[in-house]
């Protein structure tokens, strides 16, 4: 063990072929690190295809808890000859390339500046297992075993995971153990273990869990009392409703009858999915749908109906690379404008920006209260990185005293007392009116819901004055919304810098790391994380309090900045964007570099940093 070895700080990348069962072995690897108390962050980089194409799994291990992506691969596990060239090129100088040495590596793959670790994975499996399918599957366990030796992973942790995984198929445990051992022993026997990068048990994960955002979102919906889910399959949102179904099957079956206390419909398309949700919430159930970019476009007519007719609607947008079909298996934050201004005419939609699975859970649950309270669409802006990758996250919590806020809904007794009911009367002067549900009262409180203009009593009208009154009230409701949506998070007690930085969603991981890196280099920035649109007053104050504000976003067109300049009266030239839109999660390095570039320019040019002409890095 060399004394200058790097402990608990590395990036391991696995290069596999999809459809070969590598995913679960890779997950086992990162979970083992996690169970050793070391923060870890795995990312799947998969093709839009089912079988036979290159797929990668990248694990960042960092005991300080930096969980964003980091460029540079310390060790690459290459089990897909298709991508060898690209994979080997990705290894940092001095790093490691581990491969299946059953076949000799061709000379063209030689690099002087990296180490090669050959493990004859296939040969070991052929010698030890009979069925071809087993030989294929156990290859994956073999490399996990080898990694255990090379990186000093506690083998018992992995063994325990195997035991848990196959607790219902116990006869699979011994061969898995065997495969693990084969890899472990081969590595021990042939290489100087551990390498100069290695792991070591820590106590740095606390009571955190490793969960993906989509599952957490689904649990949030379940806890919030969703009974109707309608959806149409689309990557990367499919697993939201799938997870909802899995847990609903477990937790929402009526004991007495065995029947379901929920209904899930796979709709014929996204238009129908969102229509079903609107129908269900109109009728007083909590309902939601999940989709991605193309679905948002298709749903936009219906979103406008829900906005204008004031029907609660919760919509989860797990964003992927756009435009059009785009990069369906890559991440972006590029549906912001489409979501915020979804649908023709004057519309504004409430957006929530979770940045961890725990927040997916909390914001999903909050979204239903918000939708019922505000009687308007609430769009949860997740993304592929957050939704489909496991993230280390604080445990999910629920206060059993918590009650659903169903908003302003009149019951039969209340209606009985009313002189005259007006669906769109602003009784409380907050822009939010009282609704009634079908079936409440035989002669009072019925009204006609419509997407056309109508008066306070829900009667169709083409009277311009009435129309203006109604849409101005919607603006008042928009002001009210600011009081209800989650407030931004500030990362300092008081401002200490002339420069600020604003970020949201999954950029948070990289942003927080970048802030520390910058601080280490003597640059301290004030930071704010925005959690919702509309923005409350503190956002404007934060921007006003700084000479420059950097906005981190993962799209080409600075869409979040557009929301800021549209909705607030801030000076656009102050808002400098840090962009990343190649489909991979942004890294701290990217942020640091872009900020330093800006500051350099700033130093050269005096006050005028012309952000507009900058190319993205």
């Amino acid at each position: 063990m060399s004394s200058d070895s790097v402990v608990n700080d590395m990036v391991i990348r696995f290069a596999n072929v999809n459809g070969t069962g590598s995913a679960s072995a890779n997950d086992m690897f990162s979970k083992a690190i996690f169970r050793m108390g070391i923060p870890v962050s795995p990312k799947n980089i998969f093709p839009s295809n089912i079988q036979g194409l290159p797929t990668w799994y990248e694990v960042r291990i960092n005991e300080k808890g930096y969980l964003g992506r980091r460029a540079g691969v310390d060790l690459l596990v290459g089990v897909n000859p298709q991508s060898y060239a690209k994979d080997i090129a990705a290894v940092r100088p001095g790093g490691y390339f581990m491969y299946d040495s059953t076949k000799k590596l061709h000379h063209e793959f030689d690099r002087e500046d990296i180490h090669y670790i050959g493990i004859p994975m296939m040969r070991l499996c052929m010698e030890n297992f009979q069925h071809p399918r087993q030989q294929q599957l156990f290859k994956n366990i073999v490399y996990v075993g080898a990694l255990a030796a090379l990186l000093d992973i506690e083998i018992e942790v992995i063994r325990q995971m195997i035991r848990e995984q196959f607790s219902h198929k116990e006869k699979l445990i011994p061969p898995n153990f065997k495969a693990l051992e084969l890899g472990f022993e081969y590595a021990q026997a042939h290489y100087d273990c551990p390498l100069d990068i290695r792991v070591e048990r820590r106590d740095n994960v606390g009571d955190h869990i490793m969960i993906d955002g989509n599952t957490a979102t689904a649990l949030g919906a379940l806890y919030a009392g969703v009974t109707v889910a309608a959806w149409y399959p689309i990557t990367p949102s499919t697993s939201v409703v799938k997870a909802f179904e899995t847990y609903a099957k477990r937790l929402r079956i009526d004991k007495a009858t065995g029947k379901k206390k929920y209904a899930i419909v796979q709709a014929e398309d996204e238009l129908a999915a969102v229509g079903m949700v609107i129908g269900a919430t109109w009728n007083g159930a909590r309902a939601f749908t999940a989709t991605s970019g193309p679905g948002i476009s298709l749903m936009s007519e219906f979103i406008g109906l829900a906005y204008f007719a004031e029907i609660p609607l919760v919509l989860v947008d797990v964003q992927r690379g756009g435009p059009s079909t785009g990069m369906p298996t890559r991440t972006q934050q590029s549906d912001i404008l489409s979501a915020a201004y979804a649908s023709h005419g004057d519309t504004k939609q409430v957006l929530l920006f979770p940045s961890t699975p725990t927040e997916c859970f909390e914001m999903a649950a909050a979204a239903f209260d918000l939708a019922d309270r505000l009687q308007t669409p609430i769009i949860l802006m997740s993304d592929l990185d957050l939704g489909m990758n496991s993230h280390m996250s604080p445990p999910l919590t629920w206060d059993d005293e918590r009650r659903y806020d169903l908003g302003k809904v009149l019951n039969a007794e209340e209606l009985e007392k009313l002189e005259k009911y007006g669906r769109y009367l602003d009784v409380d002067n907050d822009g939010i009116c009282y609704r009634t549900l079908p079936g409440t009262h035989p002669t009072k409180g019925s009204f006609f819901t419509r997407g056309t203009s109508r008066d306070e009593y829900a009667r169709y009208t083409e009277d311009g004055e009435v129309y203006v009154r109604i849409v101005n009230r919607l603006l008042k409701k928009w002001e009210t919304a600011k009081r209800y949506v989650p407030a931004p998070e500030l990362y300092q007690k008081e401002n200490r810098s002339t420069q600020g930085i604003i970020f949201f969603g999954t950029s948070t991981y990289a942003a927080l790391e970048a802030l520390t890196l910058l601080k280490e280099q003597g640059m301290e920035l004030d930071a704010m994380r925005i959690k919702a649109f509309p923005f409350d007053k503190t956002v404007e104050q934060f921007i006003e309090a700084h000479e420059q504000v950097f906005i981190i976003e993962q799209n080409r067109d600075k869409q979040f900045r557009s929301l800021l300049v549209n909705e607030l009266e801030v000076y656009p030239k102050k808002l400098l964007t840090i962009l990343n839109y190649d489909g991979m999660p942004i890294t701290a390095d990217t942020i640091v570099h872009q900020i330093k570039d800006y500051l350099l320019m700033y130093a050269h040019n005096g006050r005028h940093i012309n952000n507009h002409q900058r190319k993205s890095l």
Binding site: K259, A272, G275, T440, T443
Partner: protein, 350 residues
């Protein structure tokens, strides 16, 4: 849900068994063209609901966009209504029904709304056998946008502007039989005697009940050459049967001639009596209905009446196996698994 009887009763007014007068089932004054077929259908709906003694708040009326889709404003003023967007009423109805299975859902649409922009949703709500009454007020044209041909206009049918429709008509009745609908009927806005019992039977049917009702557009498609004009329909109509809807409690007093009569008992105990006008047709046999329809078509006849019913139909809730209680009445206690369970779930992710 609470069921409160109406308070004031004018002693002079005729009332149904739950104490509502027919006027309690009326809506706002129609703004459709004088003579529009759609208004007659509204009238039949009012009559049927009155006779069936439906509690107004026990019914929700839904529609898309079009003259036809405006009609829910003109009937059942005490029921909640939802005038959604063009062609998408079926999805709204699906969600609403999932949320509360205890209401009667009455959907009204047009041939543009259902056979063009809404064709996909129409086919799929049917396929899900959603428990609802689905009425298409079929005039072969787009009334509200001033008379363009719709997809149900017959080939060769001449519009008011004089253009000759080149395309095949979509026969919504044939289509729904093909797609497996559990209740399929066709009628004519001018035939209230047939319409009222059909609507009553449809409301009693526990699945998707489809009514294709030819409803002439007097302003744009009631001219010679139109196959959806009053005159053309009257001349080519061929009824399958004379129809009676008998609610459960009533004793059956009428007697029918042997062989020509059939009766179908619905899940709620009510009966549909059919005095069949064609002996070769069995209303509970889909193939027979399809053949019957095909034959009539080839004779240029417009077959009306109840064409097919599956008396054993379930509905979407049955397919999904949901609880009997309406989902929208469940609260924290029934829905939220609570903190302890969440702790267990957390443990699975460590």
């Amino acid at each position: 849900m609470t069921y409160i009887k109406p308070k004031f009763r004018h002693p002079g007014l005729k009332r149904n068994k739950i104490g509502f007068a027919k006027s309690d089932y009326e809506g706002a004054i129609s703004t459709l063209c004088a003579g529009c077929g759609h208004d007659s259908i509204s009238g039949a709906i009012i009559q049927a609901c009155y006779e069936m003694a439906i509690e107004p708040h026990h019914l929700a009326k839904l529609s898309g966009i079009g003259c036809s889709s405006k009609t829910p404003t003109y009937f059942l003023g005490n029921s909640h209504g939802f005038n959604s967007v063009h062609g998408r009423m079926p999805s709204i109805a699906t969600g609403a029904n999932l949320a509360n299975r205890d209401l009667i859902y009455l959907g009204v649409s047009g041939d543009g709304d259902s056979a063009s922009i809404g064709l996909g949703q129409f086919c799929h709500v049917l396929r899900r056998n959603l428990n609802m009454v689905y009425i298409v007020m079929n005039n072969g044209c787009y009334g509200l946008t001033k008379g363009q041909d719709s997809a149900t206009a017959d080939p060769g049918s001449v519009s008011k502007e004089g253009s000759n429709n080149a395309f095949q008509a979509i026969d919504l009745v044939g289509l729904s039989l093909e797609l497996g609908a559990t209740f399929v009927a066709r009628s004519f806005s001018g035939d209230k005697k047939q319409l009222v019992p059909l609507i009553k039977a449809a409301m009693s049917h526990p699945g998707f009940a489809f009514l294709d009702i030819i409803s002439p557009c007097v302003t744009f498609n009631n001219n010679p050459g139109s196959t959806k004009s009053y005159d053309y329909v009257r001349e080519h109509i061929a009824a399958t049967s004379r129809l009676d809807f008998v609610p459960e409690e009533k004793e059956i007093t009428v007697s029918y001639e042997e062989g020509t009569s059939a009766s179908v008992r619905l899940h709620d105990g009510s009966l549909i009596h059919l005095q069949k006008l064609s002996p070769h047709w069995d209303p509970t046999d889909r193939d027979s209905a399809m053949n019957h329809l095909q034959k009539a078509k080839s004779h240029g006849e417009i077959l009306t009446g109840l064409l097919y019913i599956d008396p054993h139909s379930g509905d979407l809730h049955q397919l999904l196996d949901t609880v009997a209680q309406p989902l929208n009445t469940l609260r924290e206690k029934e829905l939220c698994p609570g903190r302890a369970v969440l702790e267990e779930i957390n443990a699975e992710y460590r």
